[in-house]
Symmetry: C2
Subunit: 306 residues, 2 copies
Amino acid sequence: MSFERLIAKIKDTKNPTVVGLDPSFSYVPQYIRAKYQGQFADPLEGAACAVLEYNKGLIDALCDIVPAVKPQAAYYEMYGWYGMKTFAETITYAQKKGMYVIIDGKRNDIGSTMEAYAAAHLGTVDLDGQIAVPFGGDALTVNGYLGTDGISPLLKICKEQDKGIFVLVKTSNPSSGELQDKKIGRRPVYEVMGKMCETWGKELLGESGYSAVGAVVGATYPEQLSELREKLPHTFFLVPGYGAQGGGAKDVAGAFDANGLGAIVNSSRGIICAYKKGDWSEEQFAEAARAEAIRMRDDICAHINL
Amino acid sequence: MSFERLIAKIKDTKNPTVVGLDPSFSYVPQYIRAKYQGQFADPLEGAACAVLEYNKGLIDALCDIVPAVKPQAAYYEMYGWYGMKTFAETITYAQKKGMYVIIDGKRNDIGSTMEAYAAAHLGTVDLDGQIAVPFGGDALTVNGYLGTDGISPLLKICKEQDKGIFVLVKTSNPSSGELQDKKIGRRPVYEVMGKMCETWGKELLGESGYSAVGAVVGATYPEQLSELREKLPHTFFLVPGYGAQGGGAKDVAGAFDANGLGAIVNSSRGIICAYKKGDWSEEQFAEAARAEAIRMRDDICAHINL
């Protein structure tokens, strides 16, 4: 009912990072793409097969040193329903290899529809007595613009099935401030949203002191990251923006508490495209990802007290 | 590059309504569910087949009198990737029958990822030279919490491929005010978001005076609906909340301009579950949906000047 399972994995691996599996087609090594090209009537099917092979290679290379992966739904939806099959198979594969899976979907809707999203990504559905697991993630990113009744169905599943959510609070992109930094009274929108996370998480506290309701706070805004760490003591942070988006280890250090916990830092392109930098060959994409994941872990751990 | 295609269909059918295809499993008539139960190793596949048959029956019964359908992604994701196959097939089927398809996904992310969502739901992907259409909707609902760079990739596709988006402004659910009604200076958050829609739409104006950037404004907040109609003269409204959620024809009248245009009103359960009310049999689900769609059209048209 909280992030204890994730925190345990972070402690086991001594690694507070998560690898974003965001397989843009141009990220997939050419030799893998070539293998499936022209093999299927619908090119989306071949693309989805290539992505799955790429993901499996990455997971194999990372599963013993990285606690979690974060597949981003957009990069699977762009291959149509074949992509969603690869999405489901990637989640299952990562979990089989012991990884915690954060589905990055930023889902949001009114209560009754949010129940469907909650069942889809974290829960189960009852089909005339047969219980099925649609995607079965461990945690889901969500957007809280619709307020409490768009979040409640998720809290229920977090409690009953030991899952977590990360609510968008302060995102890593350049224009995030257009709405998020505007002031409501004396507080910026992102802080109001952050406080809502603390409220939503109240009944879902774990032994660590963190609840099942986390927040997304970008590495590209280090001041806000430190400020929010202080103001939201029970809210675990998912921190995007390290690496390709410009955030460094010093920038993310403020996301962590005195014990080096309280946050997990994401890198996507930086890891999964590591083979494109330096002297790696395409065939070494997984080895390169592992080397970069170790470098990132060490970089961040040098700045925190894990 | 605007909503002219949708507006033309509304004029043709003299009907400013859209039917939400939100197939909760309990909405699908029992005789259809029974047909597929136990036929597949994975019960999600049977459920997705049942949903497709249900949707096709509804589309057949509605396509000559209703301009658009709005499949809600959550109710397809809850059947896993089989559900997404049904989602894709539903969109294609509705378009073949001449309907405009609004994908209700409320997608949102940072720029580079939003490009993937835009391609997935409205555009095309280039797979080593082969161009594929992942889902191919005509319009997509989106959440603007991340600001302009999360919206820009959509504007590009709207312009180049004659598509539209609807940004969440004031949602229909009870707790929508928790964030959306809070004041930024003298203006509520929803108005700030509404003004952002006017800005985003500036370069995408159609002959009707409406741009390709619409707004979601709930029927359950009639005052805000009238207020926003006045303040956002170039923003076409998608209005959920009629019927099952409590909004009536009088409540939505304020969403329309003097010519009876400027808005499209959604009903989901009210139409697709119409057979559960009155003397209909399960087998008459499509007939019942058609009768209710006609009643809803006449109810709303009695209050506007279309």
